[in-house]
Amino acid sequence: MTDTADIPQSYEPTLGDYFALLKPRVMSLVVFTAFVGLMAAPTSLSVVESFCAVLFIAIGAGASGALNMWWDADIDAVMRRTAGRPIPSGRVDPEDALYIGVALSGLSVVMLGLATNLFAAAFLAFTIFFYAVIYSMWLKRSTPQNIVIGGAAGAFPPVIGWVCATGTAPLEAWLMFALIFLWTPPHFWALALFMRSDYDDAGVPMLTVTHGRRFTRVNILCYTIILAAFAIAAAFTGLGGPVYLIVALVLNALFLKGAVDIWRRDETMSEADNFLTERSFFKLSLLYLFAHFGAILIDAVFFSTVLASWSIL
C-alpha cells in the first residue's frame, strides 16, 4: 500500500511500465527456448521468417504475462516479490493491462500464422489460453499442483518454435516440452521454500502452505530424480548429441546433489544460513535449463552441419 501512495495521481505510465507488464525475464527464456526449437527442427526458415516467428511467440508470451498481471494484481500486491509490478505499484491501470494483453494476444497469433503456419498460430493461441485462463484464473488459486500444471504453459514455446519450422510436432519437440515441464516444479518449489511468507500471506495454495515444507522438500527430490532420468535418457534420442550428453551428465549430477541436500535439511538448518542451499539450487536450476537448451542448439546447428558434410564425402 505504501508503494501506491508514492505514485502521484497524475502519473503518466511510460513505455517501460507497459513493457514490464510483459514479464521481460520470462520472455527472455521463451525467446531462447523457442529459438532452440526452431533451430533444432530439420527444416529451416529464412532469417526474416525465423526472426518473426521468435518475435511473435515472445509477444504472445508477453501478452499472457500481461493478462496474468491483470488477473493476479490482488495477489501480487501482497507478495514482496511481486509488489513492485506495474499494477500493484499503481503505475499502470488494471484495465490498460487487460487491453494490452488481449490486443497483443490477437496480434501475435495472427502474425505468427501469417509468418509461419496456422498450426503454429493455433498452438500459440492455446498456450496463451492455457497460461491466462487455465493456470492464472483457475488452477493457481485452487490446487497445490498449480506449479506442475502451470509448467506446461512455459514448456510450449520450443514446441511452437519447432512447429513454425516444420508444420508438425514430432516426438523430439515433445521431449523439449517434457524437459521444461519436469524442470518447473523443483525450480518453483525451491523458490517457494525461501520466499516462504509470500505465498502464505497471499493465500496461494503453494505446496509449502498446503502440505508443509517437509513434503515440499520430498517432492523436489522426487521430481528431480524423474527429471534427471528423463534428461539423460533424452541424450539417446533424435534430440540428443555429444554436447547434450556431456551437459546432461554434469548438470543432472549437480542438480540431483542439490535436491538431496535440500531433502536432508530441515527448517532450522535452512533458517540458520538463510536458505543458502535452496537459493543456490534455484540459481542452478536457471543454469540447468539454459545449458540443456544451449546444448540442443549446438548439437543441432553444429553437428548436423558436420554430419551433413561427412555424408557428402
Binding site: 503518466e12 511510460t14 513505455l15 526474416v48 518473426c52
Partner: protein, 53 residues
C-alpha cells in the same frame, strides 16, 4: 504550469516510443513480405481456380 509541462514531456516520450514501434512493425511486415514473395516456393494464387475453393 511546470507540472503540466512535465506531464507533456513524459507523454511525448511515450508517444515517440509507440511511433518508433509502429514504424519498426511496418518495416518488419515489409521485410517479411519480401522474404515470402522471393522464396522459391512462392506461387501467385490462381484466381480462376481459387474462386471456386
Amino acid at each position: 504550469m511546470k507540472v503540466e509541462h512535465e506531464l507533456h514531456q513524459r507523454r511525448r516520450g511515450r508517444n515517440i516510443g509507440v511511433g518508433l514501434l509502429l514504424a519498426a512493425f511496418i518495416g518488419l511486415i515489409f521485410a517479411l513480405t519480401v522474404a515470402k514473395v522471393t522464396s522459391e516456393s512462392f506461387q501467385l494464387p490462381n484466381i480462376e481456380q481459387g474462386a471456386g475453393e
